[in-house]
Amino acid sequence: MQAFTKLTGIAAPLPKANVDTDQIIPARFLKSISRLGFGKNLFANFRFKEDGSENPDFVLNQEPYRKAEFLIAFENFGCGSSREHAPWALLDFGIRCVIAPDFADIFHNNCFKNGVLPVRLPREICEKLMEDAKMGGNARISVDLERQVVVRPNGEEIPFQIDPLRRHLMLNGLDDIGQTMQHAPAIDGFEARQRAAQPWLYA
């Protein structure tokens, strides 16, 4: 996983609540066996018309948002299917930070595993950031994970909360399987106890 420290870039405004993972990446595009290449189908049902041509009304088809690195949205972002293809598609498109009032649990987890930073900020602040984002290329937003602040184009700094362990893993681009493997003796011990108490759980 790519480490995440600071990011400055263009933010695409998506002023919608309940953006579900079927919208982010429809199921018909989940047939790949790779983690790469999902970006071209990010928000496919909105980005493309039935004939496959681009829908010029959709934000990611407009300049400068084709190069967006942030996405600003409203409540319950990432609800629905657990598909990790959703953060893969965002990342593959170039979006590395999503800011919303809240996120669905599984999507929120999945982001951290892929170096996509989900930032929770109150609705009224998201509304301000939405207005900033609508200013397009003249308004760059920054996020500094080390200092836990989002910086508006006018320089205003907005602090955000984040789980310390997740922050640590993300800042260092760490694979948490390797970390967990260091607990192997504890897992062995757990299994020995459980096997004795609940043998029906073991083949």
Partner: protein
């Protein structure tokens, strides 16, 4: 010694599975059963391979194909779509390489991962169960802690049999009294989501309680727990009781003899203690629940079948008004229109929500001796090969075929638009599945979620219909 703090069902299962607690409060949680399928695992197995890691507990892992396979006869001659075929072949290669037990496509036990876990007796009370699929919440009906995970977490569980997790909050939803005629677990859960909203359960695990939940059979409980994720909660649970134990006793792979007796002792300790703390509580009166149907593009947009399409201009909040307007437009509706006036093109009885034998019986009971409307394509897709066999042994396939339903092979089918069973743009469906999101059943498709009995009524009427107007003609 001080008295133990009263604990919830969730607390008890959680506590029994904490391997270690890290300094920041994150738990390393042991996973008892890991169900896997073709869509969310290829990248996880690749990760293992790249790091030279093995699957820690193949005996606690089970693989099956369900999402992208065809549900017609074409599956017998090989998968037509090259990408789907590659995904299935990749799983088949991975299970051999990593020694994971696998149920192949043409095996009788093949089926939707959330149908086969309980059916085979692999999903049991007190277990922690995960799968790279949000509807893993289904297995909570067994009295287990079961939740969906992403592919990175699938890899983590394959390698370590654990997950890094923070404890969820406890929420209890009690449904008191008796359910009215024509209502089922589906109507209960849709009514709950209508009340709490699509994010009402975020950060929580919901325990369902009350007489109406106790009265549900296991299939009904699975339907309720299945759709818990649509209310934003990570998992849904029902405390195990005699209904649960009787169900397990009949499963092929559940514990038998001494093992069953020993397991039963532990299972009986699981229900929440009196006085256990719930962070959130909701009570519903079962008799107030009417047959439900969704009208919009998320499961919270639900009404009793007697309702009318809402008028967005009645909504004061601008953002909500815009969202309602978008739903009305996408669904091709007119405010004030009666839901029972909405003509349907396709009826789908199936999915991990409603494809068990009880669901098929409910649809067949309404369909018996009647005909599907001429303009409607109606499909019944059993949740597993075993459900299909059982239904055929009971003659349900014949009743349904005679009424004009297609009788299919097991799989996810038209729930999610990633296999050949899809809606075409503008088509309106009455569907027993779980998500009515834009494009979920195919781009431009319009989905109304409802129970199997309500779906059967819609197929017969040719429009959304009140199942209470369709008294069964004789018994099955």
């Amino acid at each position: 010694m001080s008295a133990e703090r009263p604990r919830t069902l969730f607390d008890k299962i959680w506590d029994a599975h904490v391997v270690e607690t890290l300094p920041d409060g994150t738990a390393l949680l042991y996973i008892d059963l890991h169900l896997t399928h073709e869509v969310t695992t290829p990248q996880a197995f690749d990760g293992l391979r790249a790091a030279g890691r093995k699957v820690r507990r193949p005996d606690a892992t089970l693989a099956v194909v369900d999402h992208n396979i065809a549900t017609d006869d074409s599956r017998r001659t090989g998968i037509v779509d090259p990408e789907s075929r590659l995904q299935v072949e990749t799983l088949e290669k991975n299970v051999v390489e990593f020694g994971v037990p696998y149920i192949p496509l043409l095996d009788d036990r093949q089926g939707i991962v959330h149908v086969i876990g309980p059916e085979l007796g692999r999903s049991l009370p007190g277990m922690t169960i995960v799968c790279g699929d949000s509807h893993t919440s289904t297995h909570g009906a067994m009295g287990a802690l079961a939740f969906g995970i992403g592919t990175s977490e699938v890899e983590h569980v394959l390698a370590t049999q654990t997950l890094l997790q923070k404890p969820a909050k406890n929420m209890r939803v009690s449904v008191d009294g008796n359910l009215a005629f024509g209502c089922s677990g589906k109507d209960i859960v849709l009514a709950i989501i209508g009340k709490i909203g699509t994010a009402g359960g975020t950060g929580h695990v919901i325990e369902y309680a009350g007489d109406a939940i106790r009265a549900l059979d296991m299939a009904g409980r699975m339907t309720v727990c299945n759709m818990t994720i649509e209310g934003g909660a990570r998992a849904g649970m029902v405390a195990p009781d005699q209904t649960t134990f009787d169900y397990i006793a009949k499963t092929p792979n559940g514990p038998k003899g001494e093992a069953f007796k020993r397991a039963l002792e532990w299972w009986k300790t699981l229900p929440s203690d009196a006085g256990a703390h719930f962070d959130k509580e909701l009570r519903l009166a079962a008799h107030e629940i009417a047959p439900q149907v969704t009208w919009g593009t998320n499961p919270e947009a639900v009404l009793p079948i007697t309702g009318i399409v809402p008028n967005p201009s009645d909504e004061a909040d601008e953002a909500k008004r815009a969202q309602l307007q978008r739903m009305v437009d996408y669904m091709g509706l007119t405010p004030g229109q009666r839901l029972t006036d909405l003509k349907v093109d396709v009826v789908f009885v199936g999915s991990c929500t409603n494809s068990r034998i009880e669901d098929i019986r409910a649809a067949a009971a309404i369909a018996k001796g009647r005909r599907v409307a001429d303009h409607v394509r109606a499909l019944v897709v059993p949740g597993s090969g075993l459900v299909k066999k059982q239904a055929e042994a009971e003659g349900l396939d014949r009743i349904l075929r005679e009424a004009g339903f297609e009788w299919r092979e097991a799989g996810c089918s038209m729930c999610l638009g990633m296999n050949p069973d899809k809606l075409t743009p503008g088509q309106r469906s009455a569907s027993t599945s779980n998500r009515n999101f834009e494009g979920r059943q195919g781009p431009g498709g319009r989905t109304h979620l409802l129970s199997p009995a309500m779906a059967a009524a819609a197929a017969l009427a040719g429009h959304l219909a009140d199942v209470r107007d369709y008294q069964p003609k004789g018994s099955l």
